[in-house]
């Protein structure tokens, strides 16, 4: 019994940091609708800033003053990020901002390395709270009790701020209806800045307050990211009490998981999330999202046309040039291009979902890695020939997408995105932990192509045929009746359903198809590298895909491919310099600010401006139509 209570207390204490950081994320999302990938970076900055302040300010007062000051400092950093990076792109297509926040992650990583150095910093302990008390004979650290006491206080303070002050009223109003706040004459951009200050400040507080239990290191940002997203989703996006309950739930379950099922530590929270979302699709205390908020906000995509003769000739010429590449006598160029084509196919398959389907998958790496692993496992375990593995890989990935798609498509918007993420992480942890079968973290090695493709040049030709073939196939499908049905389901699910289209089934098939093609990319990958490791299924890989699709232009047909090729090329060059993350981060931010419609979308606009006004410029009528469309959805829900 004593142990049980002590474990419960440990869980509650652990929930403190998680709640502080997650509540900030939840607030930011609730009001600004920005999925802030950089939130983990604010948390990391909180730890570093707090550490530095605590070196200067002595004693117990100094310690707690440092914690509060850290919140302030990180909040101000959040304001800088909001004003410089995000404000210019609020008008961009939805979720485009997450690319900007990704750039911020990279910049902060390198800046932290420059300022605080590479070594882990052990957090200072809280003066006066270093000891333990015995509760039913079990030792409980005093600082844990302090954390348990502080958290409800913070929750209460936030609750007061949100429900009892004018600012809070605005925040709540903005969470529920952004247009209304704008209509009320509230300066929306300052409201957003204020919320960013609060959200980032909370993350900073979280970073500072965990110092006595840990420290500051350069991996903290990504290490907490998945967990806080899980907390926010389980609690319900935008709900603070929900975030608290979820933080406690996850932390307490984790403590018991550690004791009674030690192997479960990696997957536990994802399983909890998957279960919660299955039972309550909008989280514990979340509210149902208004459909249309997340499909295609902003200027609608332009009508698409099959490529004309001129474009076809151009593509053919480019293909010829590609095929002539090995003649250039640069072996590495061939290798690099092989890599790029593989990544382009992966990005194109994600773009198919994201752009045409309006289905934002945060876990697309599952199918890329799934295809790679399907091929790798066949080679390693049953000694399958490369050709067979190649055929079965997309089937395996497609099957995974078929199952995961079925589970996820019952949700919409951000919850859909989060469930794809959770299930992808489940697949990742399965691969990571089942080492007898998958090799675990040591991966699968010695999976090289068959003899007829073992030369880099021949494998390159193979990649061009399969990879470019896959990309062209996706493009063809976009123009096919199926592709149109997919876009129809995205544009207006109501209209599509009312004209006989089973939108869920269309989306399900598209999800499966995108998964299978990502699997093809995975198979190409595994044979080009000779090995595959769990990181190919991980969140970061999924994010890489998302970034390039948005960077290229989600509302253009070629956005995925262009984004992927550009970023890979730039990365290949930039990673040669010491502070490449800083450089890449800044570059991404610049591109995001200058090209809010993505590279292709913005170039197209610039070209049109150069030629004079385009025939069909929809920007003036579109917002009206959209406002009424979302009003219509609400109407029909009554």
């Amino acid at each position: 019994m004593g142990l049980f209570i002590a474990q419960l207390l440990t869980g509650l204490a652990n929930a403190a940091t998680l709640f502080l950081v997650a509540s900030g994320l939840s607030l930011i999302f609730g009001v600004t609708r920005i999925v802030n990938f950089a939130h983990g970076s604010f948390y990391m900055l909180g730890a570093f800033v707090g550490y530095s302040l605590m070196q200067v300010l002595p004693g117990a007062i100094g310690f707690w003053a440092s914690v509060l000051l850290t919140g302030l400092v990180v909040g101000l950093i959040g304001v800088i990020v909001e004003v410089l990076v995000l404000r210019p792109v609020y008008k961009a297509p939805e979720l485009f901002q997450l690319v900007a926040t990704f750039g911020v992650i990279l910049v902060i990583q390198d800046l932290a390395l420059m300022i605080w150095g590479a070594e882990d910093l052990l957090g200072p302990r809280a003066p006066g709270l270093k000891g333990v008390v015995r509760i039913m004979d079990e030792p409980v650290p005093l600082y844990d009790l302090a954390l348990i006491a502080i958290t409800p206080f913070v929750l209460f303070a936030l609750w007061y701020l949100i429900s009892r002050t004018r600012i809070g009223v605005l925040v709540r109003a903005a969470t529920q209806d952004r247009e209304m706040v704008a209509a009320l004459g509230v300066n929306q951009s300052w409201l957003f800045t204020g919320v960013f200050f609060l959200g980032a400040g909370l993350a900073g507080l979280g970073g500072a307050i965990q110092l006595p239990k840990g420290g500051a290191d350069l991996l903290m940002d990504f290490n907490i990211l998945a967990a806080i997203f899980v907390v926010v989703v389980i609690g319900g996006m935008g709900s603070l009490p929900g975030a608290y309950i979820a933080a406690v739930l996850i932390s307490v379950l984790n403590v018991f998981g550690v004791s009674y099922l030690p192997q479960s530590t990696l997957v536990l929270m994802y399983i909890v999330m998957a279960i919660v979302l299955t039972v309550r699709p909008y989280g514990l205390l979340g509210r149902e999202e208004v459909v249309g908020e997340h499909g295609q906000v902003g200027e609608p995509e332009r009508p698409i046309k099959p490529a004309g003769t001129k474009a076809r000739v151009m593509v053919a010429v480019m293909l010829m040039a590609l095929l002539a590449l090995p003649l250039a006598d640069s072996h590495f160029l061939v290798i690099l291009t092989t890599d790029i084509i593989i990544f382009c196919l992966f990005a194109a398959s994600l773009h198919f979902l994201l752009g045409l389907g309006g289905l934002v998958s945060f876990g697309h790496a599952a199918y890329f890695g799934g295809g790679a692993y399907a091929a790798g496992l066949l080679v390693v375990h049953v000694n399958a020939p490369m050709e067979l593995a190649f055929v079965l890989a997309p089937l395996g990935a497609g099957l995974a997408a078929f199952i995961i798609g079925w589970l996820c498509l019952r949700l919409t918007g951000v919850y859909f995105a989060m469930l794809t993420l959770a299930l992808a992480q489940l697949l990742w942890s399965l691969v990571f932990q089942w080492d007898e079968f998958t090799g675990g973290d040591d991966g699968l090695v010695d999976i090289w192509p068959a003899a007829w493709l073992s030369e880099a040049n021949s494998y390159f030709y193979f990649t061009v045929i399969v990879g470019v073939g896959g990309i062209l196939l996706l493009r063809h499908v976009a123009h096919s009746p199926f592709g149109y049905a997919l876009r129809a389901s995205r544009d207006s699910q109501r209209q599509a359903e009312a004209t006989g289209i089973n939108t869920k089934r269309i989306q399900w098939m598209a999800f499966t198809m995108a998964g299978a093609l990502a699997g093809v990319a995975g198979a190409l990958f595994v044979f080009s590298k000779g090995s595959v490791f769990p990181n190919e299924l991980e969140i970061t890989k999924s994010f890489d895909g998302l970034i390039v699709v948005f960077l290229g232009g989600v509302k253009t047909l070629s956005g995925g491919v262009v984004g992927a090729a550009s970023l890979e090329l730039v990365k290949d060059y930039l990673t040669r310099i010491e502070y490449w993350r800083l450089a890449l981060g800044l570059l991404i931010i610049v591109v995001v600010v200058l090209a809010p419609n993505g590279i292709v979308g913005s170039l197209r606009k610039a070209w049109e401006r150069l030629r004079g006004t385009p025939a069909d410029e929809p920007s003036t009528t579109a917002p009206v139509a959209l406002t009424s469309a979302s009003a219509g959805t609400q109407e029909s829900e009554r």
Binding site: Q296, K305, H476, Y484, A485, A498, A625, R638
Partner: protein, 261 residues
């Protein structure tokens, strides 16, 4: 009017409540072949809720809907559509990223069950059929324009063309002229009336503009607070005491014409 056997649409005891609030209660009516039936009532009377139950967007709390004698209560909109019911919405829901003609082609593709086809290009399918429909609603010049830049009245006409794609026997039109200029309204309703008469389609529509209603409806039903309070010809409704009171209480609709912008 006609007997139950020839009714295209028959509604029995249709009710819907949201958390204890009765949005629609015990609505009964029939719709004959070729008939234009208007459903009127003040804002919040439950007209859209009623429509959503007929087309399957909402599941009724109780009651039944029969289409040509077949029970369709609670079926999904896409199944009801396949049985020959077309619908237009109060707020249009056309596909913004497509051109005008592609919007029609999309519905035709669905009608011909080619949704999962990968060949040929969608733009090449049923083009002539789509063009004919556009001509019918007078929009053939705008065929290649992006839907996102259409004027609102044109969107309404486009929606009508889409609703006609699968040669429906019944059209459900929720405020077909909402948001249009008065002259446009008359024209659109005249167009609709001509088409349905020619094709012998039954129409149930809601409308705020009484000029439109009186000009084209064969029969009227009045819904107030979820209940059907009157059902009859234009003359009968004009002289109905209960209806008078309802509308006089909330400002006469007859006099004010359209209050819904």
């Amino acid at each position: 009017m006609n007997s139950a056997e020839s009714a295209v649409l028959k509604v029995e005891g249709l009710s819907k409540s949201f958390g204890g609030i009765h949005a629609v209660s015990d609505v009964n009516f029939e719709l004959a072949r070729g008939e234009l039936l208007a459903l009127i009532g003040p804002n919040g009377a439950g007209k859209t809720t009623c429509f959503n139950m007929l087309m399957g967007q909402l599941r009724p709390s109780s009651g039944n809907v029969y289409l040509n004698g077949e029970k369709i209560t609670g079926q999904k909109p896409r199944r009801i559509w396949r049985k020959g019911v077309g619908r237009t919405f109060q707020i249009t829901g056309t596909y913004q990223s497509m051109t005008v003609i592609e919007n029609i082609q999309m519905a035709l593709i669905s009608h011909h069950r080619r949704l999962f086809s990968l060949r040929p290009y969608a733009t090449r399918l049923y083009r002539e059929e789509a063009m004919q429909l556009l001509e019918l609603v007078g929009m053939s010049e705008q065929a290649e324009r992006a839907c996102a830049i259409l004027a609102y009245g044109d969107l309404k006409r486009l929606e009508l063309a889409i609703a006609l794609c699968h040669e429906p026997t019944l059209l459900l039109m929720d405020e077909p002229t909402a948001g249009m200029a008065p002259s446009e309204r008359i024209a659109l309703m005249q167009l609709t009336a001509d088409i349905v008469q020619e094709r012998n389609i039954s129409v149930l529509f809601t409308e705020h503009d009484m000029d439109v209603v009186f000009a084209h409806a064969h029969r009227l039903m009045v819904l107030n607070r979820g209940e059907l309070i009157a059902n009859g010809t234009v003359e009968e409704i004009r002289n109905d005491a209960v209806v008078q009171e309802v509308y006089l209480g909330g400002g006469s609709l007859f006099a004010a014409g359209d209050t819904h912008a």
